[in-house]
Symmetry: C2
Subunit: 193 residues, 2 copies
């Protein structure tokens, strides 16, 4: 693997209500210099979390809400920012209570993802939440979020339709199914011995 490029210069190009754009002048190990622009965090949060919340029948809690970027209502997974002083699991539980009206007894880490590593420093933690119980916290949504409990296999089939297009959600659903299969297999092995 090549040595990382050296950052010769960097500056904030612009800072809007929610976006911060940085320009970096890089020198690659072969001597080539190139300027890149990238979106960086504004420091007002401690990362982001996406939640694969499963009820006892392996229904995943999909949500439908307005996406201002793509200008349509699409199915996706609950997610939100981790606030300063909050850990990943508390943030996941709070987002669930705000977005789907459930808390979770068990939350386990699944993976960390990036969405556009060439242009964004953004990283997202993905967790699986189980042991759901009704509890509602007020969120800041402009209109109620529609919750659509869906069998996990059916949700994965929906990723081939236009109703679930968000790459993070698609990846999270597939990876959660793999994780569940693994834990069921180890449960079976345990029950044999």
């Amino acid at each position: 693997m090549p040595e990382k490029p050296e950052v010769l210069n960097h500056e904030i190009v612009t800072d809007t209500a929610i976006f911060r754009i940085e320009s970096q002048l890089l020198r690659f190990s072969n001597g080539v210099e190139r300027t890149y622009e990238r979106l960086v965090g504004k420091g007002n949060h401690a990362g982001a979390v996406m939640v694969v919340a499963l009820d006892d029948d392996h229904n995943v809690m999909l949500i439908r809400e307005y996406s201002a970027g793509t200008e349509c209502y699409e199915l996706s997974l609950p997610k939100g920012l981790i606030e300063h002083g909050e850990n990943l699991f508390d943030a996941a539980n709070r987002e669930l209570k705000e977005e789907i009206g459930y808390g979770a007894e068990h939350i386990q880490f699944l993976t960390e993802m990036t969405v556009s590593p060439g242009y964004m420093s953004y990283r997202l933690q993905v967790v699986i939440a189980t042991g759901l119980y009704p509890e509602k916290l007020e969120g800041d949504e402009p209109e109620p979020i529609i919750v659509v409990p869906t069998p996990l296999d059916e949700a994965i089939n929906l990723t081939a339709s236009e109703d679930i297009t968000e790459a993070r959600a698609i990846a999270a659903l597939y990876m959660a199914r793999d994780r569940l299969k693994q834990s069921e297999m180890s449960d079976e092995i345990e029950s044999i011995f």
Copy 2:
């Protein structure tokens, strides 16, 4: 599903070398008004394509290159912008020739994805390329891209490691495997009858 919010006002907040940020004042169907910022395309291209390129032994062509957003070298899939006047399949073939040094005899559409529908209008087309043959076109990369042919199942296992973190690539690998299984099953059914 609620009626789409009405766009009461919109303006370009900033326009940098590669990013354009728009502000939209929305009125939701329940009367709530909210201002959103979103990244929109700059109009200098006709979308983007990501390629799951498979050789005859079902090795997928992973690439390793520097990601300025996350500041590290990660494995991902070849991708790039579709130029005006170029169709999806020509763009995919050009990117392959530039990034991995292969052209493809067959390219089929797999899916369309979004990466952050709440904040970005961006949509990506994903294709599967097969029938690879050596052909190199010069790209604009600052240093050579490292090509890592990897069995498809092993690549999917790598998504659980820190070496493949990009949600689009993870989703594309899983969905390509599903598509291949489906076409193998239909080939088997055809060979029975």
